[in-house]
């Protein structure tokens, strides 16, 4: 679709280099402002609701703005990187980073593995494919508040799960308030909610692999696993990258699951970075909350960059 550059003149400069002047061709009758007009509504909304607030937030994160400055924002003081230093040195923040890292390490690989496995099954010509696809995708579109409340009731001390366990002779577990169980519980809710996304994306990736490649492999005598590791998985690199980045961004900023399921407890073991930021807003420590948000943004950026480097298509 991009108009191709047309070389309108070329001459050999005295230095021996060929200098070429290029003029962009445009479609007849389409003035250059037309594309801008099409993106203008988006740009306007983006500027007002994303860019400007983000810029204000960035500047405010270098001040000590708090509750006391509310009626006169000018009374906040510029403190340079002090707020960032405070946040990074805060033991509760460090704890939330460690908690989040633990959740990410637990959830991302498992979600991807289950999503990939389901995609393989659905791709293999299952009969009620549409039904299963919808069923596994349902948690993605389910309201998290409702879902988390059902989990809370189900896993409560006198809830359905414990009653069932007691009936089969296994004792009741303190699912949501035993530190050893609460983290896996929060992780499970996150995984349950995201399997559908991973599955749909992997399924699309699988279906984009040309069947000729697999047929050729079959003719060459490759078995199921040989095809899987020799053809399917290597060709899924771009999809794997996409899924891993999406899941990472989701889980690194995980918030609703611990808020609704465990309130960050027990013993603060499920308090995530986002939850810490939320608390700071609640206490009126706006600059700390904003600085924490930008630290979170940087963590997401750096890890996503590494993922792109590691998983980029090999050519």
């Amino acid at each position: 679709m991009t108009p191709s550059p047309t070389i309108v003149s070329g001459e050999l400069a005295p230095t021996g280099q060929l200098s070429v002047s290029v003029k962009r061709t445009s479609r007849v009758g389409v003035p250059p402002w037309v594309p801008w007009a099409f993106v203008a509504p988006f740009l306007a909304l983006f500027t007002i609701f994303v860019a400007i607030p983000a810029l204000i937030a960035l500047v405010a994160s270098f001040t000590d703005v708090g509750v006391k400055n509310l009626r006169n924002l000018l009374s906040a003081n510029f403190v340079g990187f002090d707020t960032f230093a405070d946040v990074l040195g805060n033991t509760e923040f460090q704890r939330s980073v460690a908690n989040t890292a633990q959740l990410v390490l637990l959830t991302v690989p498992i979600t991807m593995a289950i999503g990939f496995a389901l995609a393989i099954v659905l791709d293999s010509g299952l009969k009620q494919r549409g039904f299963y696809r919808a069923a596994f995708y349902l948690p993605v579109v389910t309201n998290i508040v409702g879902a988390a409340m059902i989990w809370r009731y189900a896993f409560a001390n006198s809830g359905v799960i414990n009653s069932m366990l007691e009936n089969v002779g296994i004792g009741a577990q303190d699912w949501l308030s035993d530190p050893a169980l609460a983290v896996p519980m929060v992780a499970s809710l996150g995984i349950w909610r995201n399997i559908g996304i991973a599955m749909i994306l992997f399924l699309a990736g699988l279906q984009s692999i040309p069947t000729e490649l697999r047929e050729a492999a079959a003719i060459d005598g490759a078995g199921y696993w040989r095809t899987m590791f020799g053809i399917t998985i290597p060709l899924m690199r771009p999809t794997t990258l996409l899924v891993s980045v999406l899941l990472l961004i989701f889980f690194i900023s995980i918030f609703e699951e611990p808020l609704l399921l465990t309130r960050g407890g027990p013993l603060g073991s499920t308090k995530s970075i986002s939850y810490w930021i939320y608390d700071q807003f609640g206490y009126g420590n706006f600059s700390d909350a904003l600085a924490g948000s930008f630290v979170l943004l940087m963590i997401v950026g750096v890890i996503s960059f590494i993922q792109f480097r590691v998983l980029r298509p090999k050519t």
């Binding site: 810029l55 204000i56 003081n77 510029f78 403190v79 002090d82 603060g268 609640g282 009126g284």
Partner: protein, 428 residues
């Protein structure tokens, strides 16, 4: 925090503030309220934000005020209790404030700190009519920023019927609580005592009372320095923690709404709780159930005596209010002994005006309220500084370690003290 390059920052912040204020469409310009309020009937519209279930009960109740002042309309907006502070802060920034608001004693200091509340006009009300502790909790540097509207005191509620049946006496001392719990355990009640296990600001409220009962305080007398890890507080927290580690209380106990079911089923039989408890139990089991089955005593005394954690709500008028005159007239009406007595009948919140306690026949005669009445007089509010909300949540998290036995009281309070010093009081 350090102050560097204030001027350049002001330029940047000014530019952004203009953008922000343009976007929000308004700039608060702070008329400092009104200096005096006349006796003429209130007129105009009063926007009134009220949190919690009070917000739902008020519109009906305030019809009386509207009847007495035909020219006035009061619009009560009920806001979930947990969101009131955040909404109010956002409104103060945007300049789109209501005329008046009902704030909670525990968290109102951070609202005071915004500078968004108008001081009470001279002579509107007489401080001597109110309970002193309640009035003082709303006054900063001689300015009364809110008028105390109701008080509660946490006192010891217990299953009187079962105690009488088993011949167990109500506890009057810390040691008595252990004996009370042991006696009930012998009757098959596994965890007789309930302590606050939300491990947040409400658990800290337990420590406010236990610390006072042991002669301690969480904040220095001049409200400038946190004193969380003093020997008195460590011993108080040790006692609190021992009720868990000795097996008398569950580390995951009933929450606020779970108290009535737990006491109804006799899964727990003793707890420090507020005066709303009997009505919750009556709602679950039928009218008159509490009078028959529940007993109260003032909080079991520690070495320094019996002190109760008290709290409540206050009424405040905003500096940017559109109709402060009518709002103050509503505050005055709600602060009269007769209105407060009616409000107790309608909702059950205890008056802050001493006269209302004798005026109201229920308050004067309900024996379940005797302990509350005694406790309000000697009660102690939590630390009255803006950062108490943050410190109390942090402290609650440290208390969880003691309840679960993963840290000693000394370790938990040393850690809490370090963090509290980093947080500060917010008043400086």
């Amino acid at each position: 925090m350090k102050i560097t390059s204030r001027r350049s920052s002001q330029a940047i912040v000014a530019g952004l503030a203009i953008v922000a204020l343009t976007l929000t469409g308004c700039a608060g310009n702070g008329t400092a309220g009104v200096s005096s309020i006349d006796d003429a009937p209130a007129t105009g519209v009063v926007e009134f934000w009220a949190g919690g279930s009070e917000g739902e009960a008020l519109p009906e109740f305030i019809k009386q005020f509207e009847a007495e002042n035909p020219e006035v309309t009061v619009n009560v907006t009920a806001i979930p209790a947990g969101e009131l502070d955040a909404k109010l802060i956002a409104a103060i920034v945007a300049g789109t404030v209501p005329d008046m608001v009902f704030t909670y004693t525990q968290t109102q200091r951070s609202i005071f700190n915004t500078g968004g509340l108008a001081p009470m006009p001279e002579g509107l009300l007489n401080p001597d009519d109110f309970f002193e502790a309640a009035w003082d909790s709303n006054t900063i540097d001689g300015e009364t920023l809110a008028v105390p509207w109701y008080v509660y005191a946490l006192v010891f509620y217990y299953r009187k019927d079962l105690a009488e049946q088993y011949g167990i006496a109500a506890p009057t001392t810390w040691e008595g609580v252990r004996e009370f719990a042991q006696a009930f355990q012998a009757q098959g009640v596994k965890k007789p005592i309930v302590l606050s296990t939300s491990y947040d600001q409400f658990s800290s409220e337990d420590l406010v009372a236990f610390s006072a009962q042991n002669g301690g305080s969480l904040l220095s007398a001049d409200n400038t320095t946190w004193t969380l890890n003093t020997p008195e507080n460590v011993a108080a927290l040790e006692y609190w923690g021992s009720l868990f580690t000795d097996g008398y209380a569950a580390t995951v106990g009933p929450d606020f709404m779970g108290m009535a079911p737990s006491f109804s089923a006799a899964e727990s039989v003793g707890a420090n709780y507020g005066q709303w408890f009997p009505s919750f139990l009556d709602e679950a089991n039928g009218a008159g159930w509490s009078a028959e089955n529940m007993g109260t005593v003032i909080p079991p005394a520690g070495p320094a005596g019996s002190f109760s954690a008290i709290g409540g709500g206050s009424l405040a008028v905003l500096k940017d209010a559109a109709n402060p005159e009518a709002a103050w007239k509503l505050v005055r009406w709600m602060s009269s002994a007769a209105t407060q007595s009616d409000w107790f009948d309608a909702f059950g919140n205890l008056p802050t005006v001493a006269e209302a306690w004798t005026l109201n026949s229920t308050i004067a005669s309900d024996t379940l309220l005797d302990a509350v009445k005694a406790a309000v007089a000697t009660g102690t509010y939590g630390p009255q500084v803006p950062n108490w909300t943050e410190v109390s949540n942090m402290l609650g998290a440290q208390m969880e370690k003691v309840a679960r036995g993963t840290a000693t009281a000394q370790e938990a309070l040393d850690e809490a003290q370090t963090q509290a010093e980093a947080i500060g009081t917010g008043a400086e």
